[in-house]
């Protein structure tokens, strides 16, 4: 066994029983939320090994989401870059157009088994809101989606999409009127309606068990990818690349590879207008540990511990915190976290669209931009796997506006 293999096999399974990932994670919530969070933990602990639940989930993944999502070798693009081969895990081909549905399906099935009839969700760009409204429509749940007032304006198409699906979209006017405030408001709703309500958190953050539970549902990405890469290339990839906002698509890809020697991991944060400007959404690259939304993790905060506003071209990365498992993977050095600026992501959006005929989400474009750099660095003969976490149709208006085009 090499040193690296020995080190990797010693990485403990996380979280611990209190939901901690090293110093991160945990359950920093008001006592009023303790009972529903604990009820959820108990229900999830039971379901995660329940064969009937897992079979129902697998069936839905196959028939409703369209899994497994394929792996595609972007050969023309790889050739143009002139380095490593770049493979794409096509989560953009899932029903509703992103990885978010893997999690909402899982949590909605859990809600059904817990006898809940009303689901609530927070959303930034609207992808998680759409994925939640979708599963609510399918299972006949009432669905309330909290969305910052500013995001409601920026993402009008997704707001309409949610309303078509029967959901009520509530604009949140408090604080900075964005994703973090929508999450505060969803928590307030939950604590007021605990009896019939299930809160579907959209990322690997929040109080225990959310970070572990959402990771488990999203890990289907990494499990499939492992088998698919072995089938296609006969070995595991040399590097994984995924964008990190809250971090659910990245953890979904990374988690099954944590103990695999030789597989490097790169989480790509929203560098906004550049880390040096302070206008970004990169807590792992430029923040420090603190407590928000029920967990300890890296945060964007001022010197007095107030949470500060973030900036990213991509609404899905525009969040001041990050999942605690990423915070821990950073601390132990298992994964690397880097930032890609708005303009670099935008360039990658255009490149993939033109060279491969695949229009990526602006979130995923951050991962693509970093993969291009990494491919040159690693060189020919190496394989990089990028999580193409969502499709870019939702971003057409943003891109057009940046280029001064009226759509």
């Amino acid at each position: 066994m090499t040193n690296q293999q020995a080190r990797l096999s010693n990485i403990p399974d996380m979280p611990d029983e209190k939901g901690h990932f090293g110093i991160h994670g945990g359950r920093f919530i008001a006592e009023t939320l303790m009972a529903p969070v604990e009820e959820l933990r108990q229900a999830y602990d039971k379901m995660k090994t329940d064969p009937a639940f897992l079979a129902e989930l697998a069936q839905d993944f196959a028939d409703y989401v369209g899994r497994p999502s394929p792996i595609y070798l972007a050969s023309r693009w790889s050739e143009q870059v002139g380095g490593a081969n770049i493979y794409l895990k096509r989560e953009d081909l899932n029903h509703t157009g992103a990885h978010k549905i893997n999690n909402t399906i899982g949590q909605a099935l859990l809600a059904k088994r817990m006898g809940k009839t009303r689901i609530i969700a927070e959303t930034g760009a609207g992808q998680h809101g759409v994925a939640s409204a979708t599963v609510a429509a399918r299972l006949g749940f009432e669905c309330i989606v909290y969305m910052g007032e500013d995001d409601v304006k920026r993402q009008a198409l997704n707001v309409y999409r949610m309303r078509l699906l029967g959901a009520t979209v509530v604009p949140v006017t408090s604080g900075s009127k964005t994703l973090k405030d929508a999450m505060n408001e969803a928590m307030r709703d939950w604590v007021s309606n605990v009896d019939n309500t299930f809160y579907i958190i959209g990322t690997v953050a929040g109080p225990h068990p959310y970070p572990a539970m959402v990771r488990d549902f999203q890990s289907i990405i990494g499990r499939e990818a492992k088998t698919q890469m072995l089938d296609k290339t006969g070995r595991l990839p040399d590097a994984l690349v995924a964008c990190v906002g809250g971090g659910s698509n990245a953890i979904g890809l990374f988690h099954p590879f944590i103990h695999d020697a030789g597989v490097a991991m790169y989480g790509v944060e929203g560098g906004g207008r550049g880390l040096e400007t302070g206008q970004h959404a990169a807590p792992l690259c430029a923040g420090k540990p603190g407590v928000l939304h029920g967990n300890r993790t890296y945060l964007m905060e001022d010197e007095d511990g107030q949470i500060i506003e973030t900036h990213s071209i991509s609404a899905g990365l525009d969040y001041p915190g990050v999942g605690p498992e990423h915070a821990w993977l950073k601390d132990i050095g298992r994964a690397n976290y880097v930032a890609i600026n708005d303009d670099e992501a935008l360039k990658a959006f255009h490149t993939l669209t033109k060279v491969e005929g695949i229009m990526p989400a602006l979130e995923s474009s951050h991962a693509l931009a970093y993969a291009e750099k990494l491919a040159k660095e690693l060189g020919k003969g190496k394989n990089i796997l990028v999580n193409l976490s969502g499709r870019g149709d939702k971003d057409i208006h943003t891109v057009a506006e940046l280029e001064g085009i009226q759509v």
Partner: protein, 268 residues
Amino acid sequence: MNRIAKTFNTLKTENKTALVSYITAGDPNPDVTVPLLHALAEAGSDVIELGVPFSDPMADGPVIQLACERALAHHVRLTDVIEMVRRFREKDQITPIILMGYLNPIEIMGYETFAKKASAAGVDGVLTVDMPPEEAEGVLPIYAENGLDPIFLVSPESTVERFKIISEHSKGFIYYVSLKGVTGVKAIDTVAVAEKMNELRQYTDLPIGVGFGINDAETAKAVAQVANAVVIGSAIVRRVEANQHDTHKLLTEVSDFLQGIRRAIDSI
């Protein structure tokens, strides 16, 4: 014996229920806070909870959220809040002060630094809404060394097991949240509160305060019959908000309101 214990002991011998009043520090502006603290004490508050503004007050309803926003617009920091307590103590050595808020500002300052500064300024207790006892192990010994009482919340949904854990870690008093939800939104069910008080008393000797949703003298009176303390928060902050541009009227209206509550509590 610290100020909190002394206050509750005195009230017990007088057979009275405590009035605990909450305001957010720096709301509507930092100059009002120290005079308002004195007004609260003069109007009959036995204990004062001073809210530390936070950008993301998850457990609070719209009234206190807006109070936080007004204070943060003036860049009121945890250091400033501690300084306000120090200035209050120049004239008032008796009324206990509890800092109420969220963990992150304390965590950033550092537990040790915070505890020393707060204690030196005359803070008596700390209620950190998003820090349940399970996550408090690191900080409790530091509070103990510095004579700060950790106050924890109990909710209608808390199980007996949880209540035992909470009461083991609490000092000063225990804060019973009288309804499901966030601060200041609904009215409380006083019959249900009475039942819960009887249940909780089997497990603790600490005084129990009841808050969230007490908006008028009548409810305060009903709660005073079963609790050791009546906590009034959003109802005060609403009056601060309504008079934010007229400090004199603000102080008068809050005082009048609290004197009414005081009379109702004492009439039982």
